[in-house]
């Protein structure tokens, strides 16, 4: 039972960390668009395949994140 004296504060600390992470994610707009990323991944895979296949040229370039 004495383990609880350590485990309870540990649980509370972890909880605070998780809540902070959750607030950060919300403020960062992670929950704003729940549709696009799901589709994005399909197209990105397609793009990679085209780049491996030299016959088709890819005009689209990755934007550099400035």
């Amino acid at each position: 039972m004495t383990a609880l004296y350590v485990l309870i504060p540990a649980a509370v600390l972890i909880l605070i960390g998780v809540i902070w992470l959750f607030f950060w994610a919300i403020d960062n707009g992670q929950y704003e668009d729940l549709d696009s990323p799901a589709h994005q991944i399909v197209f990105d895979g397609e793009e990679e395949k085209r780049q491996l296949n030299p016959k088709q040229t890819s005009a689209a370039q990755e934007p550099h994140d400035a």
Partner: protein, 807 residues
């Protein structure tokens, strides 16, 4: 296989001969029009072929997108216009655009890729759920109008989007609601763990010290739930108590506060039951329910902001030398001269000083035929110039125009709108009062029996019967029904109208654009000379190719255009097809070509156009603003429900009575200005009728605002759509009876849910009064009853048994 060929890009059927072709994905594809072909060619030449492989839906025909002139786009490049919506980050500019024409996920990919491939565009991110495009670019490389034109080339229209205060507040509240849910959920899990250990059912045999530590841990972790997550409930309760009315918020607050204070007392005194985990669960369930309801409402609010275009109103101003310059409408003054090209909305009230044209006033007055206007006549802001350019002398602007008079009428009507009582609120009052009475009685009885247990029994009673399921009953049903109706193409802007639909007894309808298509269509062709119908139609449509007149659209697309076409506004057209001169239009005008009197039109009803050559008349064309095919079904259904249909139109023509007769509507009135329509409906309401209004025009907007429940057509005016409770996006009248069915079902499910929630409370009440309820049973009972309510509401997500077509 002789299938009808459809356009490779937009999926519209192509006529007999294929005129537009391009190479896509290694094959020659056919297109319906030049617009589609050009878009496809642009997509191919930018190397974005795989759009066509990936898309799950056909694109929108670029011709149906709103036309934006190049010089109008150039307005977006003016710094004073830009400062409203463009942000500067170091050297780059960023903007948020609202994109129209997105049909599937592949569109998003296409837009992002196409823009990113341009030199000088740093970032292009499209949000697929609200169709907003975030763009960051180098202003020296591209102007904003340039980028918008670039989107246009791949078949999309974009407007700068400037979130208004309401939208911004909504986004802020949305984030806050999400935070509250997250905090409640995360903390509740810990509280549950700590407090479960103290429950006698688990028989953990804790030491006294450990028991106290666990109680305090649970209590401390509950504190943010109560003070942060549930703050809105308390605020709502205080607000409602001030206006001396008992709402759901009051009973929710009472249960939460009661359980929390009891937890505090039990932690301090070290005795009694600990109910703080129930607070957490209660908060989580309620917050989630409200969040889902908010999301559904937000989605509709987003859809409505998309209905309203944010084009800076501009017009062509004429200077002393007669040169035109595009200026913002706010820069125009009374007395200025402006030029309105054909196909444009007239932006001001004014008098024509030069030119002759037809003006479509249907949105403002309900009149379905365009009216001829010439120098000296006055025109009204918000009407459409159709045929030829008009020079106007500006007489009234902004708040002084006739259009804004309607807006004022509307605002007054809105403030007088009768409020439909919400079932949940009535139940909540009744519920709260009876709960408090029962708690008092039980408390008194226990006081006599065993005064040491009174506090705990009364608390257990309040917590075990806390109205969790009751407060989820309505929001869950409304949320699900709103989603289902959205799939049917009906947008609900005010959720509670669904509850009130069963009390409607009168259906008021507008004619032009609502019961009818709102545009002229070709009803029949009657050849008078040796030519057959198809030949006559070919000649007529060749002539009409050049005209912007709504009549011209009725003749469809032709590939052989006539030449030397001259337009005589208000009379007709003259032109050369092949090597013969032809005229089409008013009988007198066409007959003048061969110099005799025109033949008698076959009937008196409808609009007849005569096609003639110098030898004599060739054919009659009958044009009508035809009824929507589903209109009679709608009237039939409504009569079956016992509603009285009434037709109120602004149209002066006998067409109003014709339409009423053919649909079997006995009460019909024409020639009503917006104020008379409003008075008519308010009279009905004063007689105790409950009115559902279905309309589309600006002139219907005040009535839509005043009616108990209102539905606007998706093709209608922006003003009508904003004021209505529902918007029929699909324009399919047959969706309405279906929607009414869903509304009835929604009401039934709300009532079922409320009954269930009350029944649950009635069952646990005796046990709680006897003191048999422990925190375990309270938690179990609450989660089970809430789950049942939610599952029952989910039944609304099934569409009624009518085949569903794409929205």
């Amino acid at each position: 296989m002789s299938e009808l060929t459809t356009c490779y890009h937009c999926g519209l059927p192509i006529g007999q001969a294929v005129h537009f072709q391009a190479q896509v994905l290694g094959e020659l594809r056919s297109f319906c029009c030049l617009g589609c072909q050009l878009v496809a060619e642009t997509i191919v030449s930018s190397g974005l072929n795989s759009y066509y492989q990936q898309r799950s839906d056909k694109a929108i025909n670029p011709n149906t997108l709103p036309k934006v002139l190049e010089d109008e786009l150039a307005l977006y490049d003016r710094p004073d216009v830009q400062q409203e919506f463009v942000a500067r980050q170091e050297s780059a500019l960023s903007v948020c655009l609202l994109v129209e024409g997105i049909t599937c996920a592949a569109c998003g990919w296409l837009i992002e890729r196409h823009l990113r491939s341009l030199v000088g565009v740093y970032e292009a991110r499209l949000n697929l759920s609200n169709h907003r495009l975030y763009l960051r670019w180098e202003p020296h490389q591209h102007s904003l109008s340039n980028l918008i034109a670039e989107l246009r080339r791949i078949g999309y229209v974009a407007y700068p989007y400037q979130p208004d205060q309401a939208t911004e507040r909504m986004a802020y509240e949305n984030r806050r609601a999400l935070r509250q849910i997250g905090v409640a959920g995360l903390l509740w899990m810990q509280v549950m763990m700590a407090s479960m250990a103290t429950w006698p059912e688990f028989n953990l045999d804790l030491s006294v010290g450990m028991d106290r530590i666990l109680r305090w841990t649970a209590l401390i972790l509950t504190t943010p739930i109560v003070f942060y997550c549930c703050a809105d409930f308390f605020r709502g309760a205080v607000r409602d108590l001030r206006t001396s009315h008992l709402s759901m918020d009051v009973s929710v607050s009472l249960a939460i506060a009661g359980a929390y204070i009891a937890g505090l007392w039990s932690s301090i005194s070290g005795q009694g039951e600990l109910y703080v985990d129930t607070v957490g669960m209660f908060a989580l369930l309620l917050l989630t329910g409200r969040y889902l309801e908010r999301r559904a409402r937000e989605r509709t609010a987003e859809a409505t902001t998309q209905l309203v275009k944010l084009l800076p109103a501009s017009c062509l101003k004429l200077d002393e030398q007669g040169l035109t310059q595009r200026v913002l409408l706010t820069e125009v003054q009374v007395g200025d001269r402006i030029l309105v090209p054909p196909g444009n909305l007239i932006p001001v009230d004014g008098r024509i000083i030069q030119g002759q044209s037809c003006v479509d006033e249907s949105l403002l007055t309900g009149e379905y035929l365009p009216l001829a206007r010439q120098a000296g006549d006055s025109v009204t802001a918000g009407t459409l110039n159709i045929e030829s350019p008009l020079t106007l002398n500006v007489e009234a602007l902004g708040n002084h125009t006739r259009l804004s008079a309607i807006v004022q009428l509307l605002e007054r009507a809105q403030s007088e709108k009768p409020k439909l009582a919400e079932i949940a609120d009535r139940v909540a009052q009744w519920f709260l009062i009876s709960m408090l009475c029962i708690a008092a009685i039980v408390g008194l009885i226990w006081w006599q029996l065993d005064s040491s247990r009174v506090l705990w029994i009364v608390l257990a009673l309040l917590v075990a019967t806390c109205p969790c399921a009751l407060s989820l009953a309505t929001p869950m049903a409304l949320t699900t029904a709103t989603g289902t109706l959205h799939r049917l193409g009906l947008l609900i802007t005010r959720g509670h109208v669904l509850e009130g639909l069963n009390r409607i007894d009168t259906l008021v309808l507008d004619k032009t654009g609502t019961l009818t298509e709102g545009r002229l269509t070709l009803e029949s062709i009657q050849p008078l000379a040796g030519l057959n119908q198809a030949q006559c139609l070919a000649l007529a449509s060749a002539l009409e190719q050049h005209s912007e007149h709504p009549i011209a659209r009725a003749f469809g697309q032709s590939h052989e255009a006539a030449h030397q076409v001259q337009s005589y506004p208000g009379f007709g057209l003259q032109g050369m097809a092949g090597n013969q001169v032809l005229r089409i239009g008013q009988p007198q005008f066409a007959a003048a070509l061969y110099g005799r009197n025109p033949p008698e039109p076959p009937t008196q009803q409808g609009l007849y156009l005569l096609l003639a050559n110098p030898q004599g008349p060739l054919a009659w064309f009958l044009l009508e603003d035809s009824l929507r095919p589903e209109a009679s079904e709608l009237i039939h259904q409504c009569k079956q429900q016992g509603w009285t249909p009434i037709l109120l139109s602004g149209d002066r023509s006998p067409r109003v009575q014709e339409v009423a007769q053919s649909l079997g509507i006995t009460q019909a009135e024409g020639n009503l200005p917006p104020s008379a329509k409003l008075a008519y409906v308010q009279r009905l309401q004063a007689q105790g009728h409950r009115v559902l209004m279905l309309g589309d025009g600006v002139n219907d907007a005040p009535v839509l605002a005043a009616a108990d429940i209102s539905v606007a057509m998706g093709s209608g005016a922006d003003l009508a759509k904003i004021t209505a409770d529902m918007v029929l996006l699909s324009n399919h009248l047959s969706r309405l009876p279906q929607a009414f069915k869903i509304a009835q079902k929604t009401r039934r499910i709300i009532i079922e849910n409320i009954l269930w929630a009350c029944a649950y409370n009635a069952v646990v009440l005796p046990f709680a009064a006897l003191g048999w309820i422990t925190p375990l049973w309270a938690a179990l009972g609450m989660s089970l009853s809430s789950l049942l309510v939610v599952l029952n509401a989910l039944r609304l997500s099934r569409l009624p048994d009518v085949p569903r077509s794409s929205p």
